[in-house]
Amino acid sequence: MSGFEYIVQQIVNAVSLGSLYALVAVGLSIVFGVLRLTNFAHGDVMMVGAFTTVLLNALGLPFVPAMAAGVVGAALAGFLIERIAYRPVRDAPDVTRLLTSLAVTYILENLGILLFTSSPRNFPLPAILNESWQLSGGAITFTNINLLTIALTFVSLLLLGWFITRTTTGLGMRAAAEDMPAAQLVGLDVNRLIIVAFLVASAYAGIAGVLWAAQAGVVQPQMGFTPLLKAFVAAIIGGFGSIAGALLGGYVLGALEIFIVAFLPSSVSSYRDAIVFSILIAFLLVRPGGLLKPNREIKL
């Protein structure tokens, strides 16, 4: 395998991984934007999406409709979480709301364990998705899952782009993220915007959950934990609350992780997550507004 092909292969991997991070991070940023809430339960919404898909598929629904149902299920879960747990603490201090979201995570993960046990189950991937393509005589390989991940991310992000720049509700969400009282003064119904934000963010978590499970080949109740933490990093690198920032952060993080693993010696790359979270801390300290935003004064 030549150096060039190796690099192309790593780029494919980075885009695929980055797409997943971007999908999760976008949802986190949407919710943070309108609500100033660090939503730990977002990872569990991914889990709901993946499990719904598995369950309905096991009950005989073909894969694609089961997946669509998974996305709807995730959106519904997000809606319920907002309605039951977050709305009553909406005006509470940051920490109270952060703790509430931790409690929701705790409940959902244990509910998953109660219903499905903590052992991983197979994700029923149609055979066609497991097929892979080989270029340059096998030096570059990508599976249909990689392609599906990239394509689905691309399509859903285009849709999101249309939503937040062309519809009044989408514009309203961005307006509320920037200045909630001003959004109220022009007559935007904040309650409705928050519900829409949760539906949209959770649907994206659902898509990400299904794709994550498809790549891993298994589902389990704690599956959302790692992608959630990574998506936090991605969202903060890009600028927490900014949708474009979350996208950028997702791909930057995907590229960074692949780079660490592919090009650094294993004695360093086994510390990948430590490096990633050190970068998160560095961003919080030095550039809390993220890559896209100028520094805001949020210290002390």
Partner: protein
């Protein structure tokens, strides 16, 4: 009672508290249809609080606000916008990451008469031609004066029966202040009812028909602009001397 005698906005003994602080201590005032009323006073006198309570951002502790016959005190802001009150807040509060076009579109978000929105936008261009040039530009990149014009235009997009204006001259270059007050004068001629908070008393009294002078949460003085312009009691009210 004849129709004209019923004020469009009637505020009666309005009291607002922030924790232990009484920001408004029983303010009463009227704004009649087609009138421009100025609200002047020193910093912290309660001018902005009055506007914020009318538009629903602050809740009254007691007292009543009646708009076009409906009691609106304590209702949420979107409902109040739908009833016909638009509030252009202090510091403009534009959506800086959105374009001029998008800001204006959100200004009209409570309206359902889509066909007329485009026509109203055209009419606003006549009043604020700069907005047409800046149409696709992000609001955050505009100059102070341009931003203030956009803030006014955004409020007007709601087609309000009453326009609340908080410090339209704040952070605007002196040359442009004149231009903005000319635009407000034009709006007045078109029959827009306004309640105006303004630090620049001279400009405010030029534009307004009547004025209320607030001091530490109560109305210290009120009367026609002409009366207040010629009396030195306004200055006294500012300085806290006895009336």
């Amino acid at each position: 009672m004849p129709e004209a005698a019923i004020p469009l906005l009637h505020i009666d003994s309005l009291e607002v508290r922030f924790g232990a602080v009484r920001a408004l201590k029983g303010v009463s005032m009227d704004v009649r249809q087609g009138e421009v009323v100025a609200l002047v006073g020193a910093n912290g006198a309660g001018k902005s609080t009055t506007l914020r309570t009318i538009s629903g951002l602050s809740r009254p502790r007691s007292g009543s606000i009646t708009f076009a016959g409906a009691s609106i005190g304590g209702r949420p802001p979107p409902q109040i916008v739908r009833l016909g009150i638009a509030h252009s807040p202090e510091g403009r509060r534009l959506f800086g990451a959105l374009t001029v076009a998008e800001n204006l579109r959100l200004g009209a978000c409570t309206r359902t008469d889509r066909a007329k929105i485009a026509a109203d936008t055209e009419r606003l261009f006549a009043l604020f031609p700069i907005l047409k040039q800046r149409w696709r530009q992000l609001a955050g990149t505009l100059s102070g004066g341009e931003q203030q014009q956009l803030a006014l235009a955004r409020a007007l997009m709601a087609k309000p029966r009453l326009l609340l204006l908080d410090e339209p001259s704040l952070g605007v270059a002196p040359l442009l202040v004149r231009q903005i007050f000319d635009a407000l004068g034009e709006l007045k001629r078109q029959g827009v009812t306004m309640l105006l908070v303004e630090q620049n008393i001279k400009l405010a009294l030029e534009l307004a028909d009547r004025a209320y002078v607030l001091r530490t949460g109560s109305v210290a003085l009120s009367g026609s602009s002409a009366e207040l312009r010629d009396s030195d009691r306004v200055a006294q009210a500012y300085l806290g001397a006895a009336e």
